[in-house]
């Protein structure tokens, strides 16, 4: 690293976007807090509206903030070092997302290895199980909970398998798009990026179908169906939210590509979106293995 690189590190002047972002998160927190508090009661509070206002404000903030960043980037204010800051920031953000999923995978592991078998009397819990839940048999998927809620298990074939194929393919097409960008082949870039987005949207569509199937009379697999339903919906649900976010990122990239943004050397935003996409893909593979198959 030479001194010259350091001289050009761009320190932005004052910005009003962060405080708007902080207010937006405040609105989301109190809106969601109020909304959730009233879920199980008759009264309907202000929560929903405040929550929506917060989400709208956060979207406005992201739009404005990123516009500033893009303008600065196009104006050539960013150095190689700045690019590194962005890259490292994005990598550690993805790492923090990994840890968020780790909490839920950890919970799934604990439920399967300890909690459910212990309720069935394993370890030194034979007498406890006999006294508290004499009719309960430990099994995974947990189709009948100790208090008698019954449900059915989501198989791994059919929609989940199809979704696995879709998402894995999209990761490959995302890579092709990235390679095309590096080779400066804009038309290939547009095609592969477009296919990636379509595959992502298809995944989301089938995921909705799968949820509808789960909530049908036939399956009766609800969020409230004991720890099997809990872990199924929370893990796939948070993954689905991340796929949605990833898809939005890719769509934004698509429009920026149409506008002629990015060069073969300088395309951090594209890289970040594609890293994020690979990350949701890896999470899905883990989900497919630990939630659906095993």
């Amino acid at each position: 690293m030479t001194t010259k690189e350091y001289e050009s590190y761009y320190v932005p002047s004052q910005s009003h976007w962060p405080i708007i972002g902080a207010i937006a998160l405040f609105l989301i927190a109190i809106g969601a807090g109020n909304y959730v508090s009233n879920l199980n009661s008759e009264e309907s509070g202000y929560g929903g509206y405040v929550l929506l206002a917060g989400i709208a404000l956060v979207l406005y903030m992201i739009y404005g903030w990123f516009s500033d960043v893009i303008t600065e980037s196009l104006a050539g204010k960013y150095s190689h070092q700045m690019d590194n800051s962005f890259k490292q920031g994005m990598s550690w953000f993805i790492f923090s997302e990994v840890m968020f999923f780790a909490a839920f995978f950890g919970a799934l592991l604990y439920l399967r290895v300890f909690s459910v078998p212990w309720l069935g009397g394993e370890g030194n819990n034979a007498e406890t199980a006999a006294v508290l839940w004499p009719d309960f048999t430990a099994a995974w998927p947990l189709l009948k909970t100790p208090d008698g809620t019954e449900t059915t298990a989501m198989g791994w074939y059919g929609l989940p398998l199809l979704n696995t194929v879709l998402l894995l393919t999209s990761s490959i097409t995302a890579h092709f798009a990235h390679s095309a960008l590096i080779k400066n082949n804009r038309s290939q870039l547009k095609v592969w990026l477009g296919i990636t987005i379509l595959l992502g949207l298809a995944f989301m569509y089938f995921q909705v179908l799968e949820y509808a199937h789960g909530y049908s009379e036939e399956m009766r697999l609800y969020l409230t169906s004991g720890v099997y339903g809990n872990s199924f919906y929370l893990l796939t649900g948070f993954h689905g939210m991340h796929v949605t976010l990833g898809c939005i990122m890719l769509i934004v990239m698509f429009f920026r590509v149409l506008k002629g943004h990015f060069t073969a050397e300088n395309h951090f935003a594209f890289k970040a979106a594609s890293w994020y996409w690979h990350f949701v893909d890896v999470v899905w593979v883990m989900l497919f293995v630990f939630v659906y198959i095993i």
């Binding site: 350091y6 590190y9 320190v11 004052q14 910005s15 976007w17 405040f26 800051s85 840890m99 720890v227």
Partner: protein
């Protein structure tokens, strides 16, 4: 590390003039402004959390219920803990990180200045939600700062959703702050400043930031499960649906134990900066300090269940977590011995930062030893959930973390404000604090050993004598902090002009710039010479 002073003071044209008024603070991207905001916010939270603690101590002044209802008492202990952990100690350290890291590594600012502003401004909103819940119909959270299920799920009051979302946005703030620290340190060091040349202060914040991005998301996960269990009918922590309330404790403490080190590793960094300055010797065993810090951080991920010895874990689990926990005493011991060895035969002087640092070394070690006692599974069955635990973690967090924050403030205050502070008043602050804090927390050991449980508004008559002294100590300690406020305000407004390097033994790039530090420092990086 030495540097050429003159070339750093050149003003760079690309830099903007220092803005003024409220917009300066709301829109700022300047690491020094943001550091100042963090530090003031943390001090206000310290006073709020301290005020809650004084109501607790007033209630516990004598047995029986005098001032508050038991439910409100629970709200007090809960919010006191949450405010002190997330509102006072953590933001104070982030404030130090913001102020000092760019100056110590020769960077023009933090790597991502706008995100830095966002990280800070989330906090006042998050804490206004938390404190605002006192004024809700149901009252504030009442399940302890550890929010164990089912207290926080089945038996929680109406503010739980607000608590959950407040914790979520605090977590977002911490993660962004930590990413900023990591990227700044990895990417913005002046040429020639290799990792092993960084001040130890920078190292400890670097490692702390990794702990933060690793465990804050886990906290987000566990509060989410609390939310769905409470409001959406899931049963993660409910045996009737196949879950387990003990699972809550596992996930919480997987976050919670590294969190404990998030609050002490930066303290190690501050003290390791101050002791060499006033012993006028280089820090003894710099590289062993780095490795010890890293070892403590790594070990913190495999010791969480020592908070849960009495939950009926399998014997193997109890033994594993006991031995791993005791292993932490080794790197911690390395640190304490290194501090002592740094002082050994140094030409010591006892300015205020040094007084607080020496107090830190002694009192933190007491807290460490009581931690070692608690790590022993069989004896923990006796100590668990007693005032012994309260004494332990207040020794490490108050006389540990908080004292290091005082030490650091007194050390860098001349650099921040350009003035020397009133030494007499600061001496009063130190001596009042050190006497009252021991009166406050030391008898808690005896109370705990005698069996007084924590988190109760009433107690048996046999505990009354010690509790009276503890309460007196508590009020004295709380009021002593007003002296600190007075010192800081006086120092900002007036005082003898501080030299660029007011401490003759101090080392580091921050002393090569003027006092007060110019709004922008190191627009061009300084040259780091080999010694």
């Amino acid at each position: 590390m030495t540097t050429d002073t003159l070339e750093n003071t050149e003003h760079h044209e690309e830099h903007h003039a220092q803005p003024s008024g409220i917009k300066r603070w709301l829109y700022t991207t300047n690491h020094k402004d943001i550091g100042t905001l963090y530090l003031w916010f943390s001090f206000i939270m310290l006073l709020v959390g301290g005020g809650l603690a004084m109501i607790i101590r007033a209630e516990l002044f004598q047995p029986g219920l005098q001032i508050v209802e038991p439910d409100f008492f629970n709200q007090l202990t809960t919010t006191h803990g949450l405010i002190m952990v997330f509102g006072a100690i953590m933001p104070a350290f982030t404030g130090f990180a913001n102020w000092m890291i760019p100056m110590m590594i020769g960077a023009p600012d933090m790597a991502l200045p706008r995100m830095n502003n966002w990280s800070f401004w989330i906090l006042p909103f998050a804490f206004s939600i938390l404190i605002g819940s006192f004024f809700m119909e149901s009252g504030a959270p009442n399940f302890g700062w550890t929010f164990y299920a089912p207290l926080s799920t089945t038996y929680s009051n109406g503010s739980t959703a607000f608590f959950v979302f407040a914790v979520h946005i605090m977590g977002i703030s911490s993660i962004m702050g930590a990413i900023n620290v990591i990227v700044t340190i990895m990417n913005m060091r002046a040429p020639g400043m290799t990792y092993m040349k960084m001040p130890l202060f920078v190292w400890t914040f670097f490692i702390t930031a990794y702990l933060l991005i690793a465990v804050m998301p886990v906290l987000a996960g566990v509060v989410t499960m609390v939310l769905t269990d409470t409001y959406f009918g899931t049963s993660f922590f409910n045996a009737a649906g196949g879950g387990d309330p003990v699972m809550f404790q596992h996930i919480f403490w997987f976050f919670g134990h590294p969190e404990v080190y998030i609050m002490i590793l930066p303290a190690f960094g501050i003290v390791s900066t101050i002791i060499p300055a006033f012993a006028r010797k280089k820090l003894f065993g710099y590289s062993s300090m780095v490795y010890a810090t890293a070892s403590i951080a790594l070990l913190s991920f495999i010791v969480w269940a020592h908070h849960m010895f009495t939950t009926g874990m399998p014997l193997f689990g109890e033994l594993f977590f006991m031995y791993c926990t005791m292993l932490i005493a080794v790197p911690t011991g390395v640190k304490v011995f290194n501090w002592v060895a740094t002082m050994w035969r140094g030409s010591m002087s006892f300015e205020i930062p040094m007084l607080f640092s020496i107090a830190f070394v002694i009192l933190f070690t007491i807290g460490g030893f009581s931690g070692l006692m608690l790590a022993l599974t069989p004896v923990d069955f006796q100590y668990h959930d007693t005032y012994f635990v309260v004494a332990h973690f207040h020794y490490v967090l108050v006389t540990g973390s908080l004292f290091s924050i005082f030490a650091g403030t007194y050390y860098w205050l001349p650099k921040w404000t350009g003035h020397m502070y009133n030494q007499t008043l600061a001496q009063w602050h130190f001596w009042c604090s050190i006497i009252s804090v021991n009166l406050l927390f030391f008898p808690m050991h005896f109370l705990g050993l005698a069996g007084m449980p924590r988190r109760i508004p009433d107690y048996a008559l046999q505990f009354a004598d010690f509790n009276k002294w503890v309460s007196i100590g508590g009020f004295a300690f709380g009021l002593s902090q007003l002296l600190f406020l007075a010192v800081v305000i006086k120092c900002i407004r007036s005082g003898e002009k501080a030299a660029d390097k007011p401490w003759d033994g101090a080392e580091g790039l921050e002393w090569t710039v003027a006092s007060p530090a110019p709004y922008h420092t190191f627009s061009t990086p300084p040259a780091i010479k080999d010694e």
